[in-house]
Symmetry: D2
Subunit: 346 residues, 4 copies
């Protein structure tokens, strides 16, 4: 059993880590921390865990942490993570960081989009972008994983096969994404008030969302050249799930069937990407509560555009599940350990 801890365990991604790790067959969850709830049992904050998880939230204490755990998941806000992660590495634990703080190699890019100085830029070159479908082998050898953002996971997995093969005009990429409200976290605000979200649909941060740069960075890893693209996030009146509709201009003619085969081949060794059949498209209810990313394709022959539809559970494949997928790789376990469960529908 590998001993692990979760730092920042009472937000939505934190508690999802706790829930998933508590049933992981190779993990012993030894430590959970929380600033706001320290001293309280997690099962008193999230009563669904009553009888399942008997841990109490603690203050984070670096002095003895290396004796208690081997790997730590940090589920902290960006900006906070970078003040914690270096200390964890220093005392010798491996870190899987769920914030945006280590997702770029380029310090300037980070500071431009996060409008904040980076506190530990020296770690940027070491950190590995933890998208297993791109970086599986490097992840295995790393001690610091930058777990991808939710929107970037859905968008980069949608684009990778056609970008990798050079089939699309890189200037044509438009990503129209829609997310459930858990993506905004648990802190109360007018924007997440039930009566403002229910029976409502909106776009937000158009042409300004940070994940634009993270998606561009991911696509650049695949394309080996700079990419500038459009990304628009929207808020859907539901709790979980992201669906990205991705528009790209094909350089030559293809049928949906041909591209579907390309995707099927490309992801054949990746257990958490499922490609839908020609004529079928994924819906969020197929993946919610699972670690799957479902992808469907449609060539629009009138415009020669390829439309890619990609769905994930933002808290699982888009966050805590993917973190565990990275943990499995890092720990020499099978990639699917503790993650081989289906979504819940209905």
């Amino acid at each position: 059993m590998i001993k692990v801890g979760v730092v920042g365990s009472t937000g939505y991604t934190g508690v999802e880590l706790v829930r998933l790790l508590s049933r992981h067959p190779k993990v012993s969850l030894k430590l959970i921390t929380s600033r706001s709830f320290s001293g309280k049992k997690i099962a008193d904050i999230y009563p669904n865990l009553q009888g399942i998880v008997d841990l109490e939230c603690e203050e984070l204490d670096f002095t003895e942490i290396a004796d208690r755990v081997e790997v730590v998941f940090t589920a902290l806000p960006h900006g906070v993570s970078m003040s914690v992660v270096p200390k964890l590495l220093q005392v010798g634990v491996k870190v899987i960081d769920l914030s945006g703080d280590y997702r770029y190699q380029d310090q300037e890019l980070y500071e431009e989009w996060y409008t904040e100085s980076h506190q530990s830029p020296d770690l940027l070159s070491e950190a590995v972008y933890g998208l297993p479908e791109l970086n599986r082998e490097v992840i295995k050898e790393s001690r610091l994983i930058a777990n991808p953002g939710c929107y970037p996971t859905s968008a980069i997995l949608a684009l990778t096969p056609v970008v990798n093969k050079g089939l699309i005009d890189l200037n044509s990429i438009i990503i129209d994404s829609k997310s459930g409200a858990t993506g905004a976290g648990r802190t109360p605000s007018r924007a997440t008030h039930f009566c403002e979200v229910s029976e409502n649909f909106k776009a937000y941060k158009v042409a300004q969302h940070r994940h634009t740069s993270e998606i561009e960075n991911g696509v650049k890893m695949v394309a080996n050249k700079e990419v500038v693209l459009s990304f628009t996030p929207h808020l859907v009146p539901m709790k979980r799930g992201i669906l990205s509709t991705v528009y790209t201009q094909l350089k030559q003619n293809f049928t949906t069937k041909e591209l579907r085969e390309l995707y099927q081949d490309f992801y054949s060794s990746h257990p958490f990407v499922r490609i839908h059949k020609v004529g079928k498209l994924p819906e969020t209810k197929y993946v919610v509560n699972s670690n799957y990313c479902d992808i469907g394709l449609k060539v629009d022959s009138r415009t020669n555009r390829l439309v890619i539809v990609s769905t994930i559970d933002n808290l699982i494949k888009g966050s805590s599940g993917q973190a565990i997928q990275n943990f499995n790789l890092l720990s020499g376990l099978s990639e699917t350990t503790g993650l081989k469960f289906s979504g819940i529908f209905p």
Copy 2:
């Protein structure tokens, strides 16, 4: 008082007509028909109308209809409308048709997208496409109005000012639309089952939806040339509201402020289009239960794309409200009569 009737009064657009017409100060609603519920009171089918509307659904009977009403709204499925509308015109009533049957001048275009032969193609050249913001003056003189579809209303109003001024590359248009479930009508199906829609998000009919051609047709009216564009509808787990996110490539550089002023000017004489301030974007809850179309703009200087966000209530500005707006014009009334109410938020 102008005497009117609603043919097909028990579907969602039909009953919305009944509800709105019953409080229209210049209308006397004399006749409502329904095949499935003939002989039943509308207030027994929709108990919200108890004490407000005391009409009974009748079978449609052409013999005496011209004695009872001057204008008829036909809220029938496409294919059915075209078997009814010619008879109504023949007996001398004016018709506002909410189906897709008379929205194209080009019979072939209709038959291609609706995969059905047209039964009264001779009326196509006479019918006026009832988007008042495009065709206000012609509508006033018409006896047959083809009321626009819901998605096309949101998309065409979003695009018209920049298309009219020739500011965008017409080959670059991508319309990513999201609709509430009333758009699918009242007939029960697995696709509209609560447990399949709630907490779910999906795209459907990608690159195949009929409204693609209707939007192209509308943009063509403005551009005076053929347009081919991409349109993707999505289903949002809410009842009412459409939000369209429209992507276009600008031919030259503009600020958001400049284009916002252009839109403001363009729609200054159109009481139901509201342009949001720079930095603000519309949400469906601003327009739901109203006849407004709200539009917001954002220039993405990195890609030189203009992103237009446009929202309507699909049952009002996207259908029954717009039909009444057309009726007002047709009847020589002020365009806003009976429609000057705000949305409901929360």
Copy 3:
């Protein structure tokens, strides 16, 4: 036109007053106040009102208020209302208060359930409990109306006919109520976060909710004796609407039909109470966005209990609509002025 003002105009009941008053044919809305948003246009806070209401929120100023308005609606939190209402009366405006501060004649009762000292107890005997179906005539003569709470409106209207006729055991009353989330107001909190409310159902404040005492007080007005009853509120994942299921023990045998006739007669002169036919029960979608209270009945012959189902829109008949109904009576207008619109379904 009667000049009116709304004090506390940016909460959910405040803005509902603004929305409804703005289309009231006999009202000129002259003044809206807000502490948090003073200086801002209401249409910038609630963009649904753009083009409909052009007022700016002001700080409350007692010096000139009597010159500007004749009647003020106070939509303030309890405890705050009682510091404002006396000053308004003093300068000579009539007040319709939407808080709980003036709903009891008995100061002790207020202080017990609201755990707060009353600041203007002398006004308690003058204030009229503004349930028009009970107190229509007194309301007409009053200068201070205590507008009822939402749950009490649904419960008291459900019970009044059988209590009035002495048909039920007063010790047997159990009221199981369910409310949408607008009832909790607009202030963000964990309890109203979308992800905590959506797809969830809960009871709260069991045997402790303040409205218990208000309901008892209302039933006592009808019964002319003290009543102790059970009341349990629940939170429904929807925005608007209250449905109360009321259980009572009948003293003798009745059929549903007999009691339905009793209710029909009792409310025959009350335009906003609708009694459903035998075999039919109201749903919240029949009344949402209207000022109606719909009531359905079912005698359970096995237990000789009468089950009463009562529904309202908590923001309209349960709050702002009823306040306007009171305003109409107070102002010598027809009770239904500005309120004769149907609910919205779907």
Copy 4:
């Protein structure tokens, strides 16, 4: 591994069985049947199962079924079950039946409430009512389990401790239950249309629902005398979850703390019943997606009523999870095998 089959695998309870059985560590799911979808893969009907369950739906065939499976779960409509179950027993497989057909020992009672003749009344005395918290030992020895209904599970578990100890007046029981829409099954109808359920709340079948008799039957098992009670079901705009608010008159005075201890003791050996602390009440989100029944208590000292709040996931503890709990007992496994997972919140 125990070989099992699911008859009627494509309804909501059927597919929930498939999902849960596919991850049960001691089960080999060999056979799934469906009339409507025979020949189709279950993962094509429920794409969430893609990569998890690779079975194809078959027509039910009794000739070889005993060679393929040892235990069959029948997830069929009532009336249909009783034509299938006898044949399954005859060929030697054990049956866990999820319909209402074998839940009563008394044939007349069944026929009265289900208004249908029973086709295999001889099996009624043999069938065991599969509520493990009542009948654990008998279940272990049975070959035919009548799995309880969803509402009865929540209500009987709420009442059992106080009924067992004789602390309440049995004539005072009122059960006000609220359920998500999965309880209505997957067949499309107007009553389950998204636009009729969302943002709506209603009571249905007041004083007439079949589960009234099943609850009375269950309480009678505990009380050893006839019980007549009131039961009202309601539909909540959510997918899963039941919350029952149960009102009872206490015969003498108790504190909430005393009764909480009684419940805690009573269920101490029952792993799936959790009793909340004094001052806390369960919400459906604590149990949804789990096999737990959460119970909270509140004594109302003013009326000397005990209010019990009880919540389950209607598809798990209220149906398919409980069926597996019964299967575990029947098969000599630990009661919690394959069921020890927490709910999902958010």
